[in-house]
């Protein structure tokens, strides 16, 4: 008995040490080598929604938490159609996704921002797949009484020049800013296209969109910014900017300025399961159903397009 116990203990030790060693070598990308074993036969009929479960293998995806629900929903659907495929979708932030995909730790890295916008990322090695578009606008407490704002005033509000809603014809309430962290993709998009690059003044800073919505809904005079999909009830009001309503149609036509692509990056051209899954994401089935269901705008329906520098052109 005693001997058995000892053997068991020793085994546990060996396992622990083995696990520690595996952690140490995790950086040389065992996940990417796994994906090389994936079945490539299915790539021909990829994207075809009727393809019967031929894709198999494992795929790891990480990155943007804003994109996570969309990709996870698509992955779930994909896995139910292809029972042999195993796709793991982790959140962790755009920076994490970009870093991990360029180091080969994951197969696909999701990001709210162009890889070119982040330091230390070899953007030319990564291949961009614009999966969806997300529209954002300023979210304001319902009692503030301002629902349409000019871009000029929006900048003044966020830079702290205007400190009371009465200055804009609203209620006599002091303005409370709710920001995102400096490195957040949502903040970068809002600053670039909503504030024309002006640096927001200090305010409460929260990362999660749900927390931002709760704070803006609870605090009189508060203003923050949220993706369209978070305006689900009356607790916060989505602001029109220069008279343009924040709707999917206005983003698609290019009339509403604050929107960003949701990118899925691969290290080099995707192969195997990664390619099958990305084609699936761009298929009509996902773009017409899952994308709008999750509150995003189909990338294929955009009438305008934008490059990494933020230059907007008509889509061809």
């Amino acid at each position: 008995m005693k001997k058995m116990k000892l053997v068991g203990f020793a085994l546990l030790l060996v396992l622990t040490i083995g696990f520690l060693a595996a952690c140490g070598s995790g950086e040389d990308g065992d996940s990417s080598s796994e994906s090389e074993n994936t079945n490539t036969e299915s790539t021909e009929d990829a994207g075809n929604a009727d393809s019967e479960g031929t894709a198999s293998g494992t795929l790891t995806i990480s990155g943007s938490s804003a994109m996570q629900p969309l990709v996870a929903a698509a992955a779930e659907q994909f896995m139910s159609e292809n029972p042999d495929a195993d796709i793991q979708v982790n959140a962790g932030g755009s920076g994490t996704g970009l870093s991990e995909v360029s180091e080969g730790q994951v197969d696909i890295g999701n990001s709210d921002v162009f890889a070119e916008a982040k330091d230390g990322i070899p953007a030319d090695e990564l291949v961009d797949h614009k999966v969806a578009v997300v529209g954002m606008t300023a979210a304001i407490h319902p009692e503030a009484g301002v629902e349409d704002i000019s871009k000029e005033d929006l900048i003044k509000v966020f830079t702290g020049e205007i400190t009371n809603w009465s200055e804009l014809g609203g209620a006599d309430q002091e303005i409370t800013l709710v920001n995102r962290p400096d490195s957040s993709g949502t903040r970068a998009t809002f600053v670039d296209f909503g504030l024309d690059g002006a640096t927001p003044a200090e305010g409460v800073t929260e990362d999660s969109s749900n927390t931002v919505r709760q704070i803006v809904g609870d605090t009189p005079g508060a203003i923050g910014y949220l993706a369209f999909s978070y305006f689900t009830d009356d607790s916060v009001v989505a602001m029109s900017i220069d008279g343009v309503e924040p709707t999917d149609e206005n983003v698609q036509s290019g009339d509403f300025p604050i929107w960003a692509y949701e990118h899925s990056y691969t290290n080099g051209e995707p192969e195997g399961l990664a390619k099958t899954f990305l084609d699936y994401l761009m298929s009509d089935e996902v773009q017409n159903n899952i994308v709008p269901e999750q509150g995003y705008i189909a990338a294929s329906k955009m009438e305008v397009q934008r490059d990494a520098e933020g230059k907007q052109t008509e889509a061809n």
Partner: protein, 312 residues
């Protein structure tokens, strides 16, 4: 009958092990505990080395001035031109919430400990002990969530100075509740472990119970009580999640405790996922981690100093 059985079982086990395997078993046992000790030491040392190399990168590779990092109040790492990396407001915030919450939780925790050990030992143990254990068991995200939904609106409606309710004080209150069990349980142990002849001697001299507590027991236990507070502070300054939800996370030094602030841990958790490995922003976040590690070393030194005084 039962005892006899146990005795024979023990005898047999010892006899068995004596039959040639004793030396081997001796060695195996020693090997196992040594490996356990080595794993712990290696883990601690490698984390320290890793954090030090990562944390120094922003100064050595990215060229951030350490003096600017530690003293400047300007934090704007994402600016296109002249990004600034002054982490002083966050260091200040960390120290402020830590000391202020110790200021609140210290007296309450020690008071509870004295109640449990001196005033109502049986009743106090029965009621207070489970309460403390429950407090320890509540996950920090729950503390944060309660703070966000109850404390923050309360602050906003109660104090006219707290415009949003997100404030240093909110963070301090949440942290005080969180470190209370640490302080109370260590202080209780310290009070209980005082030799009972101290109490008896004091009563024999005609001192009342309160006089005994105030003049005899507390002075005798003071090094352990201080250790309890310092350990509570060590827990406070490492806490991120709950504080992040109520403190507001602004990068300016607050003018009053009713204004929002930020701590090192909240800035790290807010930004880590968005930054890319090796970028300046990411490196400065590691440097903040290094600052936290150094702070915790200082706390450990204080604890060691206090416990060495206890032996005198």
């Amino acid at each position: 009958m039962k005892d006899e059985q146990t005795i024979t079982a023990v005898q047999q086990r010892l006899l068995k092990s004596r039959q040639g395997k004793a030396k081997k078993n001796e060695f195996t046992g020693r090997f196992i505990v040594t490996v356990a000790a080595i794993i712990m030491i290696v883990a601690t040392i490698s984390i320290t080395i890793f954090l030090a190399t990562k944390g120094l990168q922003s100064f050595l590779v990215s060229g951030v001035s350490p003096i600017e990092f530690l003293t400047s109040t300007d934090w704007n790492p994402t600016a296109d031109e002249n990004p600034s990396f002054g982490a002083f407001p966050f260091i200040f915030g960390t120290l402020a919430v830590t000391f202020l919450s110790a200021l609140i939780a210290g007296p309450i925790g020690i008071g509870g400990a004295i109640f449990m050990s001196e005033i109502a030992p049986s009743w106090g143990k029965k009621v207070l002990q489970p309460v403390i254990e429950l407090l320890v068991g509540i996950p920090s995200v729950v503390y944060g969530f309660i703070g966000l939904t109850v404390l923050v609106p309360f602050m906003r409606n109660t104090f006219s100075g707290a415009q949003t309710g997100f404030s240093l004080l909110s963070g301090v209150i949440v942290l005080s509740v969180m470190i209370l069990p640490t302080i109370t349980s260590i202080a209780t142990d310290a009070m209980i472990s005082l030799p009972s002849n101290l109490r008896q001697g004091s009563y024999a001299l005609g001192a009342t119970r309160w006089q005994t507590i105030k003049k005899v027991l507390i002075p005798a236990a003071i090094p352990s009580l201080l250790t309890a507070i310092v350990l509570g502070m060590a827990r406070a300054f490492g806490e991120a999640l709950a504080v992040q939800m109520v403190i507001g996370n602004v990068r300016a030094i607050p003018d009053s405790i009713l204004e929002p602030a930020a701590t090192l841990t909240t800035i790290i958790t807010l930004n880590m996922g968005h930054t890319t490995y090796g970028s300046v922003e990411n490196n400065t976040l590691w440097s903040m981690g290094l600052v936290l590690l150094i702070l915790s070393f200082i706390f450990i030194l204080i604890i060691r100093y206090l416990s060495s005084r206890r032996k005198l």
